[in-house]
């Protein structure tokens, strides 16, 4: 009898624990922030949550603290209280506190598909009223689009990246390879590397957004800068020859062994380490990794010196332009709709973005959303080159998974893995995208 009861207790206890684990995200979470009444009548506190803890992002954290100190000095009645969380925790925390309407006054968000539910749920405040012409012009063209919903801007970018093809000059030199100008040359480079037993491209497609970037470039070079965007915003269709051709070329590359073995099971970090160890000739990643190839003292000097980048080559007969890039804004700053100190918070955001733009590249290696005067900053050549490419860019196509709504993005990333894994045909790839996009309409 006792044993029966014991089993029952174990079973019930265990399932309860499971449910607790299964839904721990539901718990109302105390945030420790919250609105505090100041001592004097005028004193206010701005709660600010960001994702650069001093441990893992010391440079970023230092700049942020500097800007806050400056702002507090300029506005003696304002105190800024900071809370930091690591990237993943930050994402989850933002959603949890948002559901109980306890967002900090100022926080960080990602663009487009990520922030849209927050805007629709009336959690973020419109920032239209802080723009004057001069301030608007200080941003890189088009970068604000990613933070707009129905024509109004809800966040200001602090980060902008493009994704070049980084390559190891030492490996290229060993086999007498030149930077490919056309896609055919690019395939020849791959073939030469494969013949010599090298891994041409390292790719961590478990993080399928990295595979998505290669696909996006092919889509751009085949169909021009509008093909993919129009398929996503529904002015066009995904079952478009250019988008299918691009998918077919991905599979051609896979069949030619262009990508590292087992890419679908590797994370981006694992793939990157292959590149950093000189085991792989090419690696496509956002310019946020530039510090690893330039200033990061933990990386051997010899390796850093051997890294350069090239633009994704043109496809013969394709509509694309080699100066069109895949990239887009990273995190941006929002002001909470229910903030008690909206005015101060908006001032803070504006001040932050201005000051951040002056320091971030030089101090932390982050390309800001505002324009950088390359002649005024002291930077490694690789950085200057990327900044110049950015200034000359005819177009920046925002990462597909960011552009898409969360549901479609999820499908897209799964389909990218299936495409690279040769599990579906290019036609099925396009057709299933089209279907997912149609369901969202």
């Amino acid at each position: 009898m006792f044993k029966k009861a014991f089993t029952k207790v174990m079973a019930v206890g265990f399932t309860s624990v499971l449910l607790f684990a299964a839904c721990s995200g539901d718990e109302p979470t105390e945030t420790g922030s919250g609105d505090q009444a100041g001592n004097g009548q005028e004193d206010v506190t701005i709660d600010f949550m960001h994702l650069w803890p001093s441990g893992s992002s010391p440079d970023h954290n230092r700049i942020v603290d500097g800007i806050i100190a400056e702002f507090e000095e300029m506005h003696p009645h304002v105190t800024v209280e900071v809370e930091t969380l690591e990237n993943e925790q930050y994402r989850n925390q933002l959603q949890v506190i948002s559901s109980s309407n306890q967002l900090p006054d100022v926080g960080m968000t990602w663009a487009a598909g990520f922030m849209e539910p927050y805007v629709r749920g009336e959690r973020f405040a419109s920032l239209e009223d802080i723009f004057d012409d001069e301030f608007r012009d200080s941003f890189v063209g088009g970068v604000l689009d990613g933070y707009q919903v129905d024509g109004e801007t809800y966040a200001l970018p602090v980060e902008l990246n493009i994704a070049p093809v980084f390559y190891n000059q030492a490996i290229f030199a060993e086999y007498g390879l030149e930077v490919p100008k056309t896609y055919d040359e690019f395939l020849q480079v791959i073939d030469t590397l494969v013949e010599n037993g090298e891994t041409p491209i390292t790719l961590g497609n478990r993080d399928a957004w990295t595979g998505s970037m290669w696909y996006m470039y092919l889509a751009d070079r085949f169909g021009g800068e509008t093909a993919l965007n129009e398929a996503i915003d529904r002015t066009g269709s995904f079952e478009n020859d250019a988008l299918i051709d691009a998918a077919r070329e991905i599979q051609t590359m896979v069949e030619r062994d262009a990508f590292i073995r087992g890419f679908n099971g590797l994370s981006d970090q694992e793939a990157k380490s292959e590149f950093m160890n000189g085991n792989s000739a090419m690696y496509m990643i956002g310019s946020w990794d530039l510090p690893n190839f330039t200033t990061n003292e933990d990386v051997p000097q010899e390796f850093r010196d051997s890294i350069d980048f090239f633009r994704f080559p043109a496809v013969e007969g394709g509509a694309g332009d080699v100066d069109s890039w895949v990239g887009g804004p990273g995190v941006g700053l929002f002001v909470a709709e229910n903030s008690d100190v909206k005015e101060e918070a908006k001032d803070f955001v504006k001040h932050f973005v201005e000051r951040w733009g002056e320091q971030s590249v030089e101090e932390a290696g982050i390309i800001p959303g505002t324009q950088v005067d390359t002649s005024a900053v002291d930077l490694p050549d690789l950085f200057i080159d990327v900044l110049n490419e950015l200034n000359n860019a005819t177009n920046i196509t925002m990462y597909a998974d960011v552009q898409m709504s969360a549901n479609v993005a999820d499908t897209h990333l799964d389909l990218i893995q299936a495409l690279y894994g040769l599990e579906i045909t290019p036609e099925e790839f396009a057709q299933q995208h089209e279907q997912a996009l149609l369901e969202e309409e």
């Binding site: 014991f6 607790f20 839904c23 948002s98 799964d414």
Partner: protein
Amino acid sequence: MNKVMSDKKVIALYVLPAFLLLMVLVYIPIILTGYYGLMRWDGIGAMEFIGLDNYQRLLQDSTFWRSAGHSGLLAIFSVLSLVGYLIISMVLAGKIKGADLFRKIYLIPMLLSSVAIAQLWMRIYHPTNGVINRFLESIGIENTPLWLADTNIVLYSIFIPIIWQYAGFYILIYYAALKNVPNELVEAARIDGATPWQIGYKIKLPLIAGVIKVTIVLAVVGSLKYFDLIWVMTQGGPNGASEVIASYMYKQAFNTYNFGYGSAIGFFLLILCLIVTYFIRKLTASKEDVQY
């Protein structure tokens, strides 16, 4: 003392802290999950009551059923692995030298955090640098398996560390149970001429049947709700090939802003576990519990 314990207020005072904690941490979230499951909710904005629509969607969601199939497969493998654990425990509980040391060695994986285990096995499974593929290459196999990238084998590749992870836990339970089997019975059997196999099968096994039932429930329920290694090693990929119920629930709730639907999956998972537990108890119930 008796006086104090018969005072209802005092009893309440003693029980209350644990009761409140249990309410806040376990039962209220369960109720809330059930409640959210009835809503169309992105987890951010306003909720909209949609009744059982989420559950209807669940029944027709092929991705969900595929994930559920994977969870079920894991449950089957976990239960099968119990046989192995039982045999190891029997060997250890027999008087062999160094049993204590072995028991501790088997227990080590349990002491590691899931993330550490996942990182370890990701190294082992690495397509080019991993221990396994290095070995296979050294004995001349050319197309070494892509353990975590091949959609046909990725699920089984993850089962191995999961089963390895829990080995120590079950072995410990069986070992303790076997040690509790009275020595007189074993010796009596031996005098009667029973072989070691008969002693194990006919005497020890029935005597620890209760414990075995508990471990079956634990293994099945634990498998159905399993999340951590899978999330760290593959995030359910590639293309959903290693998706399980819990990882699918997480994705729905947090990645794709279907918090209501995610809650419905979570609640369904709870019901599923309760039903499965009930049936396992039914199936394994014997008319008389063996006493010793």
